[in-house]
């Protein structure tokens, strides 16, 4: 623990970078996954699409990073792309499942009362799909916090930087200074999003 105590400011700054990286990647991932997920919930091509994203998910993160570097260079944005790509499978799958699971009777009632498709989507389908979608965001976020440490290998500044430095210098203290806060971040994010998920679930119960 002595490393963390002596280098508190550095660890804190890297933890902040770590969070920033994950949040940016999450935002980018959602921007892509939300429309795909919503479309996949309605259309026939949902199953093959989700299988395809599932295949993407099985590529080792390091391999994907190495593959992207020649095109996108080293650093933050390459890490964002890789993290966002990993999150796609979980996000699309859960968003699609969320929207596919909206009770048809609720949708029908909304339409019968005179809501148009957009009003029905925003006022009824979205709240019903939210808990499962948030479940996807939670799992995706936790995995991204873990995978983000690997992204330090291609030059992204985050808690993984400490781990790789520690590995190079055979300095266990520094490895722990990177991995313990990363694990704590993951636990924190999981707990926080679980609470949000439960709230959303209770709303529609």
């Amino acid at each position: 623990m002595s490393y963390i105590v002596q280098n508190g400011a550095e660890v804190g700054a890297l933890a902040f970078d770590h969070i920033l990286l994950v949040l940016t990647a999450l935002a980018a991932a959602l921007l892509v996954a939300a429309p795909i997920g919503v479309a996949a919930a309605r259309k026939r091509y949902a199953a093959p699409l989700i299988t395809l994203l599932g295949a993407l998910y099985t590529i080792p993160s390091l391999a994907l990073l190495a593959f992207l570097v020649p095109y996108t260079g080293l650093g933050f944005w390459t890490a964002v792309i890789v993290l966002a790509a990993y999150a796609q499978f979980i996000l699309v799958r859960n968003i699609a499942a969320g929207f596919a699971g909206v009770p048809t009777a609720q949708i029908e009632t909304a339409r019968a009362l005179g809501m148009n498709a957009r009003q029905c989507f925003l006022q009824i389908e979205l709240p019903f799909a939210l808990p499962v979608a948030i479940g996807g965001i939670r799992i995706a976020t936790v995995s991204m916090i873990a995978i983000a440490t690997v992204a330090a290998y291609i030059g992204a500044q985050d808690l993984g930087t400490l781990i790789f430095n520690g590995l190079n210098e055979h300095y266990t203290q520094e490895i722990l200074a990177g991995s313990i806060p990363a694990a704590l971040l993951a636990i924190l994010a999981d707990g926080l999003l679980r609470t949000v998920e439960r709230r959303a679930q209770r709303r529609i119960a």
């Binding site: 009770p103 009777a105 609720q106 029908e108 009632t109 909304a110 339409r111 019968a112 009362l113 005179g114 809501m115 148009n116 009003q119 006022q123 009824i124 709240p127 709303r203 529609i204 119960a205």
Partner: protein, 318 residues
Amino acid sequence: MTLTSGGAEIRFESVGVRYAATERPALDDVTFAVPSGALTVLVGPSGGGKTTLLRTVNRLVAPTAGRVLVDGTDVASVPLEELRRGIGYAIQAVGLFPHYTVAQNVAVVPSLLHWPPDEITRRVDELLRLVHLDPARYRNRYPRELSGGEAQRAGVARAIASKPRILLMDEPFGAVDAIVRRSLQQELLAICKSLGSTILFVTHDVDEALQLADRVVVLKDGRVEQHGSVLDVMLRPATGYVRDLFRADDVLRRLRILRVGDAMRAGEAGGAPQIDADEPLLHALERFLQGERRLSVCTQGVAAGVLDLDLLRAAVLP
């Protein structure tokens, strides 16, 4: 206080619905008219086509043959959302949106119609009082905090919120247990009737519905078995099925279901004790057994006719 803009007439013209080309049609050449402001009850066996027929009115189902007219206009030619916002719709079970409060649920259609907020608030309170839910207690509750009966009341309040000219009710009280349902159904139907909307009401509870119905339509295998007044289906059942359904041979049932107004003859009975035209004939018989010879029949306090034991007998033992 004007609660509705009056009822609209609904006319079914040779309406047919086929869900799948191979199956027998769910509706087959259905033709009848629902007079403006009347309460028409749809009855018949499960799978007979009641729900399907109701849904052709607000276009949840599109007829594959014939057409549905509201006040002479083909519903297919009216913009969908406009049509639906003018038609109240209450169904069994779900209905209420769980993430909306009672007030928000009741306000759905007025909000879609862009009523001013203070008018919506006023209207919501008025409606909650109408269905006997104290606004102060219930306005901000969520559906999960309501009993089954209270939820049905809120559902009816939502269906009538925008003063619809047509009210479609598909077993709206089916989820409530039988004892509560009887009185709830009667109470809420009476409220809806008083609004003047044209009501199409689907139920399995034949007896209770008959006590309020103006017209009865029996649907079986997608066809109209009989369409007529309560008196018609009770006394002149068109088919064996209709007779069995209403157990029309049972004199006691006739006494309970047929109303004073069904048996009276026009005229004056100066000085005779009064009875309301909407009371069941059984109440009149009770009065005769107590020694009355003639009753003066009135509707809303105005003398409308005369009833004596012979007229009563003629009605129940034709």
